[in-house]
């Protein structure tokens, strides 16, 4: 399925009809009146970042890799074009999965220098997010716009539908971010957290149902007689552009939102704002949960103390 939001004007026509003009004016006025988070299409940011061991892979129009010495190496990138999401796993250094705006998943096994399409069986639609299963490095999840969550157990060589999209506010919602969170569901597996245009949701990796983030495991809701613990969710109605869980500390989550960078210490129940820079993508180091890097509208920023302090990362 192709993105139908783009329109083209026939080259031979230079006149605008009254209906077209009024329609365009109404659309423009409507867009101006909307909050920015609602105007952004789900998973619309073609910015992505991920740690590959101690180095960073950065996609923001071009693809580059930090060289470990303060510099950056420009990479040719996958032939299929714009990267919307990147995912790595500490158990597979050098392997990078990329979700493509033009559709499909591509994989590099050499730190981003060479790329191979791994889209066999996937619907032909934009891949809005990818993540690697925390406990199974050959298992990759991909969120497909207008479709659902897909799963590959062989590093992308074949794919199968795992789950339809979540139903939120009376409609199916595209996934804009994915993170495999290595915390037990109480159902023999771990969680997959997901961002949407309306906020956070999650599903156990047995794929029984999308559900809100709650304290404890999925079935603690049975103990309804207990007093409800305190909660501080992410800002309501904001698109989650990216979401990561620290491998060394799975309860630590970072989220990139239009309102900034947010962090949770308890797997998504209580969130606190760590930066008000409009955030497009975020990555956390596999063995140092305090080391976080984000792509913002103001540029690339880095924190080595869990988001308490940020410094600009210069790209030479």
């Amino acid at each position: 399925m192709k993105d139908t939001s783009m329109t083209t004007t026939p080259r031979h026509s230079t006149r605008l009809s009254r209906r077209t003009f009024l329609g365009a004016m109404a659309t423009g006025a409507g867009l101006i009146g909307l909050p920015f988070s609602l105007r952004a299409a789900p998973g619309a940011t073609d910015s992505a970042i991920a740690f590959d061991s101690d180095e960073l892979i950065l996609a923001d129009g071009t693809l580059s890799r930090s060289d470990g010495d303060g510099g950056w190496i420009r990479l040719s990138g996958p032939a299929a074009g714009g990267i919307r999401s990147l995912a790595t796993h500490p158990g597979r250094p050098g392997r990078i999965a990329a979700g493509l705006a033009g559709g499909g998943v591509t994989l590099s096994e050499d730190g981003g220098h060479g790329w191979e399409a791994r889209s066999q069986g996937l619907p032909d639609a934009p891949v809005t997010a990818v993540t690697v299963a925390a406990a199974e490095p050959d298992t990759i999840y991909a969120a497909i716009r207008g479709d659902g969550l897909w799963k590959s157990e062989n590093a992308g060589r074949s794919w199968a539908l795992a789950m339809d999209r979540p139903w939120l506010a009376d409609a199916e919602r595209d996934l804009t971010a994915l993170a495999s969170v290595d915390l037990a569901t109480g159902m023999g597996g771990i969680w997959i957290y997901a961002g949407t245009e309306l906020g956070l949701t999650r599903v156990p990796d047995c794929f029984c149902r999308w559900q809100d983030v709650q304290p404890g495991d999925a079935m603690d809701a049975l103990a309804s007689g207990k007093p409800a613990p305190s909660e501080a969710p992410l800002p309501e109605g904001e698109t989650i552009n990216a979401l990561v869980s620290a491998s060394s500390l799975p309860t630590r989550l970072y989220a990139a939102l239009p309102s900034g960078i947010w962090m949770s210490e308890d797997a998504g129940v209580v969130w606190s704002q760590k930066s008000n820079a409009r955030a497009l993508a975020v990555a956390v180091h596999a063995t140092n949960a305090d080391h976080v890097v984000a792509i913002t509208r103001d540029g690339l920023i880095e924190s080595r103390d869990g988001g308490a302090n940020w410094t600009a990362l210069v790209r030479a």
Partner: protein, 161 residues
Amino acid sequence: MRRKVILLSVVAVASLAAIASFAQVQGGNVRAADVTFLGQPVTAEQIVRGKEIYAENCASCHGAKLEGQPDWKRRLENGRMPAPPHDESGHTWHHSDQDLFAITKLGVGGVVPGYESDMLAFGDILSDEEIAAVLAFIKSTWPERQRDVQARITASDGDGS
């Protein structure tokens, strides 16, 4: 001749004893002795009864062969998910005995607050014993791997086996 008759009789008795102790349950894939529910052994009679109750109350949605509704991973027009399979291709075996009992008795919304489902709460339709029998039947159809995984989930959930 007499020795041969005695030998045959012994073999026949032994065979009957083996059949009795490893009762292969009609409709299930495993011996009743291999199935427990909430830590208690399940009898062949419970499984047979559970199969009957399943056919009367569950099969219309979850399928006569526990196969679930067609395309069960895709949402229905009303936003709800179709009835999933109860065989090994579904996710039922990822839930503990306690949770399966609660979901059947209270409905999914009774376990996950606010979750909307077409699944009825069977607490007003079936007795606790009948719900346990249905679940025993479903568990009897699972291959060994799924039963083992589900037994560990049940054990880690508190009151299970």
